[in-house]
Assembly symmetry: C2
Homo-oligomer: 450 residues x 2
């Protein structure tokens, strides 16, 4: 629970108990809609419903937009579609499309007829864009003006449409066919002579992206140019929407969450930890754990194949954990570096040969360092002295090999059209385990004459 | 290399070879400063210097701001402090402070006298804020107006100061002591009667944060409220700077990079992979690998302590990899979930008991599932059948234990004031290995009567 919510919760509860809508409205008027949304989540269901009903129409929309899709769905269920239809009509187009995307089919069917015709078409159009593309996160409420308008006409137009626009600070100049002709900022408009034409003031070169662009590339582009908003165009170059700076922050946070979950082999989940049930957590985590466990049976088989060598020199078993952990750690380091470089555009597939060359050198360096350490240690340990050369040589080869696998796997996955981040530390560890043990016991059989 | 850069590079090189500054300037006039910066990085050193010299003063500043601190440092070295002093005077205050933070002492001493007095004081003030705080990322170029100004006076003032401000879309209303009295948007100013007072139009409640706030909390606050900019205040509540939406994106990207590096035990580095030398990569990676290797020696010691049991039942060794990998995977899953929940504010230290309770249940569920799988598998494997009960029981206990360690470690680190993200998968794996093996061999000795 947020600090602010904790502070005001008792008072709000008391006012809600007295049940006077005007008082409730007044009490939360001082709050930012985002804080009101936090408050709503902290209240009991009945209290939350009472609070939301007491808000005036405009505030309802603002608060509703700050809730997650499943919280929105819950509220719709509680308040009835009729109460909600105005909220749905007036909310931002991207948030609305997002909500409909998450709603179960039956609720969606029930709500659709309640929307005004224009909003219904808008939702349908936005829902056609696949998840994760620019089209799926863009808003259709951009501000646009015609190049032949005068600056004063443009300003007059903007004042009128502003309440229904996501931003009027970046204004797109479009021709009759809605094709992007330029871009101009509100600042440029208010600091220039009102009689000039928009055409003379606008910047004719506009960075834009097609609606099927991956959302991560959209985020990267906005970050690179420090834009407030990025225009999205269709195949014919017509303006169809904008992605604003706050959408970009949401995309980055979402991609970040996905990346760290993948990196530790957790299935994708949007539910915050505190809200996730034990059952949900087990379901999201068990899948990968089981896959990795079954893949790990290969390691068991490798060891059992060398059962006699192991029985002859039990000291070989002492080093199984440090060897496979070192391989796993090295491989997941190189995988992380390459995944990150691919995600930020620092590397592309064309440079795979350079990556392999670099990681050969790095792997050799790291392998030598780790081998030296483990050899020195096993030499001073009387019970392990006779296996020291085997352990040292295995370490060099294993680290070199694991490092290459870790670096190559994300490149291979990207080449196959799979998210490179799937090459998680646990997956690489498991893959490298069996081969590492094979190297270890083969070397042992050979060097110790087993 | 970016696609656009690749396309224009040959032509730009040709023009640079002809050595006519006017032509160079014209050629890059069409490029966004961010693209010109990309171009500079792709050119040879001499070419880059020629290109930068050919730009006009205003464009130099814009391009320079899009370079990284070490690229900026390199350019200063090439062009001489005298050429650069105007660029330094005119660049955004937060970018300038960032540059000075990164410069080596001698260069800094040499550049300081070249700055105008006001800029010199500005840099000194900003450098006093510790790295990672709101103060260290804020800009001092905010737009502010007085509450008693009329709207038309305010607009006139904004038009005049706009070129020297990071943004004039969010305007802060401050009294004589620079204390925050309210906030108003440019949109509100241009859609209201010019004769009204700012005081009547402004929103008197302003969300602001003190300058010593952690930059991650700043980013979270901007993301929550969808702000363009967040005002930063000193201990007396006086406005000292703003953090803008593009700074927030940079913070998120930086924190993301740090998190994934920590998660796979890589030392923090800002250098992109493609630019990092083999030596740098080895240095950044070797530290943790060595620490983990040495910590792993404990596992070796545990196994050696049970050397006789192992010699009696060699089949016990078959399951060492799958057992310790399962423990490591489970522990790093719960660590990841708790680290993320702490970072997003979804969990705080006060809820540790709830986390432990939840993870006990989740660990038991996952442990039972994995134990069932591994037991079934070892039962159908003739050589391993006699150790199946030991392996199954160890799996339940180990997964339960690893899951708790993974969840508790980030909480403990946060309590000690250490970044919870230090509880990386490799660290948890290594920590759980030795205890897991102890459970395994103790159970084996007891159940098999070794």
């Amino acid at each position: 629970m947020r600090d602010l919510t904790r502070l005001i919760l008792p008072t709000v509860r008391e006012i809600l108990r007295q049940g006077k809508p005007a008082q409730v409205r007044e009490a939360v008027a001082a709050l930012h809609p985002a804080d009101t949304a936090d408050l709503l989540l902290a209240l009991e269901e009945d209290e939350a419903t009472t609070l939301f009903r007491a808000l005036d129409a405009e505030r309802r929309v603002q608060v509703f937009e700050h809730l997650d899709a499943d919280q929105q769905e819950w509220l719709i269920g509680r308040l009835g579609a009729e109460v909600m239809s105005r909220v749905l009509d007036e909310m931002a187009s991207d948030d609305r499309a997002d909500l409909f995307k998450h709603l179960p089919g039956t609720t969606r069917e029930r709500l659709f007829p309640l929307l005004a015709q224009a909003e219904r078409n808008d939702v349908k159009r936005l829902l056609e864009f696949p998840e994760g593309t620019a089209g799926s996160i863009m808003s259709t409420e951009y501000a646009s003006v015609h190049p032949d308008m005068s600056v004063s006409e443009a300003l007059e137009h903007l004042r009128r449409v502003a309440p229904k626009r996501e931003t009027v600070y970046t204004i797109y100049v479009t021709d009759e066919e809605r094709r992007l002709a330029g871009v101009v900022s509100l600042l440029e408009l208010i600091t220039t002579a009102p009689s000039r034409k928009v055409r003379e003031v606008m910047q004719p070169r506009v960075v834009s992206l097609p609606a099927d662009t991956d959302q991560e590339e959209v985020a990267r582009t906005v970050a690179k140019y420090d834009f407030l908003a990025l225009p999205i165009v269709d195949a014919e170059g017509r303006l169809v929407g904008i992605v604003t700076h706050d959408d970009v922050i949401d995309v980055l946070e979402q991609e970040h969450a996905e990346d760290v979950q993948l990196a530790s082999a957790i299935g994708p989940t949007e539910a915050p930890y505190s809200k996730a049930s034990v059952g949900l957590l087990i379901r999201k985590r068990a899948g990968w754990l089981l896959v990795l466990l079954v893949a790990g049976f290969l390691s068991s088989t490798v060891i059992s194949a060398f059962e006699e060598s192991l029985a002859a020199v039990v000291a070989l078993a002492f080093f199984i954990p440090v060897l496979i952990d070192s391989g796993g750690n090295t491989g997941s380091q190189s995988a992380t570096l390459v995944i990150r470089a691919l995600a930020t555009g620092d590397l592309d597939l064309g440079s795979w040969l350079r990556v392999v060359g670099k990681e050969l050198a790095v792997g050799l360096g790291l392998g030598a360092l780790l081998a030296l350490t483990v050899t020195l240690w096993s030499l001073v340990w009387p019970e392990a002295r006779h296996v020291a050369p085997v352990v040292g040589m295995t370490m060099v080869l294993l680290v070199l090999w694991a490092n290459l696998v870790g670096a190559a796997m994300p490149l291979l996955l990207r080449r196959l059209g799979i998210d490179p981040a799937v090459a998680s530390a646990p997956l690489i560890t498991t893959l490298v385990d069996a081969t590492g043990l094979l190297i270890y016991f083969s070397l042992a059989s050979w060097l110790l004459g087993l």
